[in-house]
């Protein structure tokens, strides 16, 4: 299976990129950051190609489907989303320091996928054969990626003690802005994810909402970020407090994604 080998290669690139970002922050040399971005971009390209090849391989096996329907496939797509969104944010905010917290998340996802999850391509059960599944998974994971970036920036915010000009890490104000923007992207896409999931459930099972643990935890996560947005509006959520609430939000994301699958039971036990 070529796709699995390419995903391993992707993991290696994300690792190299992570190391280069660390060197960049450690030595305060922009040059490392540029190298890190390029390696990250190369990894992202391989990641993309690997997903496409997996799609082709599934068709060769006569069970053709969009490779977004089991834990392995969702993890490699999550890594793809995180790295892709990171590269966009990095271009926009022209700051190499972010990579040191976000690229490791992409590497971690890939690492878990290739080490701990089964890479087999298996036929889809009838309920999963719907294009709504594709829209649903894509939007949910792009949303999760927004929350992952918010989480990374929040960690960086808490670690960076005082306002020093070093040119590599963004200013605290910029970090707060990135945090907010990432949450906004996540909140919107995740809302679309919940909605497409509801529409799909309505086609497959005849109910758009059945309060199964996955749905309920998605709503809880979405509420945590809604609370965050409203608290910001009242002006009470600035600085470190914003970072803490963002981290709580991401814990809820992780629980929605992994906790529900492995600790609770429900309709979504497939992915």
């Amino acid at each position: 299976m070529i796709n699995h080998i390419m995903f391993q290669l992707t993991t290696f690139f994300y690792l190299l990129s992570t190391i280069a970002y660390f060197l960049c922050v450690g030595t305060k040399k922009e040059g490392f950051g540029r190298v890190a971005s390029w390696i990250g971009l190369a990894g992202f390209a391989i990641n993309t190609a690997a997903m496409a090849i997996r799609w082709v391989e599934s068709h060769r096996l006569g069970i053709g489907y969009v490779p977004l329907s089991n834990m392995y496939e969702s993890m490699v797509f999550f890594a793809w989303s995180i790295v892709g969104l990171h590269l966009l944010f990095e271009r926009f905010y022209r700051s190499k320091g972010l990579g040191a917290v976000i690229m490791p998340l992409g590497f971690l996802c890939m690492g878990v996928a290739i080490l701990a999850l089964s890479p087999g391509i298996r036929p889809l059960m009838p309920a999963l054969q719907s294009s709504w599944l594709v829209y649903h998974v894509v939007t949910c994971f792009l949303g999760y990626a927004g929350f992952a970036i918010s989480f990374g920036v929040s960690l960086l915010y808490l670690f960076k003690k005082e306002e020093k000009k070093n040119g590599i890490l963004p200013s605290r104000k910029t970090m707060e802005e990135i945090n907010y923007k990432a949450i906004v992207v996540g909140f919107l896409l995740f809302a679309v994810g919940i909605i497409t999931g509801a529409v799909w459930a309505n086609y497959a099972w005849g109910t758009y909402w059945s309060w199964d643990p996955k749905e309920t935890w998605s709503l809880i996560t979405w509420f945590v970020y809604a609370i965050l947005l409203h608290m910001r509006y009242t002006g009470r959520l600035v600085g470190r407090r914003m970072a803490y609430v963002s981290i709580v939000g991401f814990v809820s994301v992780i629980f929605t994604y992994w906790g529900v699958n492995y600790l609770l039971s429900g309709l979504h036990s497939y992915a």
């Binding site: 009838p126 809302a191 909605i195 005849g206 309060w211 935890w217 509420f223």
Partner: protein
Amino acid sequence: MKKLFKPIHGVFLSLKTTIFLLFTIALVSIIGTLIPQQKEAGQYVAQYGLLLYRLFDLLGFFDVYGSWWFRLLLILLLVNLVFCSVSRLPRISTRGNLSKKEWVGRLGPHITHASLIVILAGSLIGNIWGFKGFVNIPQGESIETIALKGSQEMLGLDFTIRCDKFAVSHYPGTETPKEYLSELIVLEKGQEVFKKTIRVNDPLQYRGVTFYQSSYGFLPSRPEERKAELEIIPKGNGSRSSRLQLAEGETKQVQGTDYKVELVALIPDFSLGEGNRIFSRSDQPNNPAVQVNIYQNGKLSYKGWAFLKYPDFHGSRNDTHRVKFINYSGGERPYTGLMVVKDPGIPVVWAGFGLLILGLILSFFLRRRSFQKGGKDD
């Protein structure tokens, strides 16, 4: 009255209340994800013990999302939303010195909040004027009533649904099911008016009622449909064997001979009980057996048992015939299990979903915000 109303009014206008309600709803929702919902009482007692079962039952923990206090929280959030939205209405109309883009953007949160009201209204419509039910249709049969979910009641439909065929297709070379298909026909006053082959993810909709492929199974066969194919071999020189198919209780003259065959008993799952009492263990053809009598010139000449799975079993030497049980057709029929839903709130909910996305896009991308001192930007 007004004095009493004022503080309540204030509470519902406050964004602190919103935050409190969102937080509380999120928190109590967790309970329903940790405790399996709406299961049998026995299962709960086994899992939690009687004392804890009573306590949880009292608190409504076994049906969190249907409990009065969860509904109350949702209603409070709704009231909160309505109050905030209405009190801010006057400010929408004043454009002031805002740019057009900024002004449209400021509508964003209002559309977002309105969309949530629309979605909740849609779900309420579905709850009041809709229903959810279930029906099994054996292949080739029709139904006009369905069983309502969560009650013992049956509900009559305004039309008839017939299932012409149910089938499972598999991925090539595997046992993994690929598709479940039901060919459904809608009939009104005996006339076929609509036809569709449904599968999971592709339901049939007729007059606001939707039929979803949801399960399947096999009906036990009816005794009169069970048939046994026998081979009768008369003993002695030059006699030809003959084949014939019989149902239980049937007697047939075998053509060109002087004997009649009676199928006394046809048992799909032969078993011996106490005192060698013969009975059928199930309706499934696990061990089909027949009891056969043969009459020659009106006189009983043979009496014995034959088994499909044990063709070598036969009676004594002195028998006039040998009887072989060569084929069993039970007539087990598949049935399709359909979820039947009427939800007139769906278009409203879908509209709410659309508004929600629109509202969020406007809120997030058309407004300028400052990041020096939190988010206050109005």
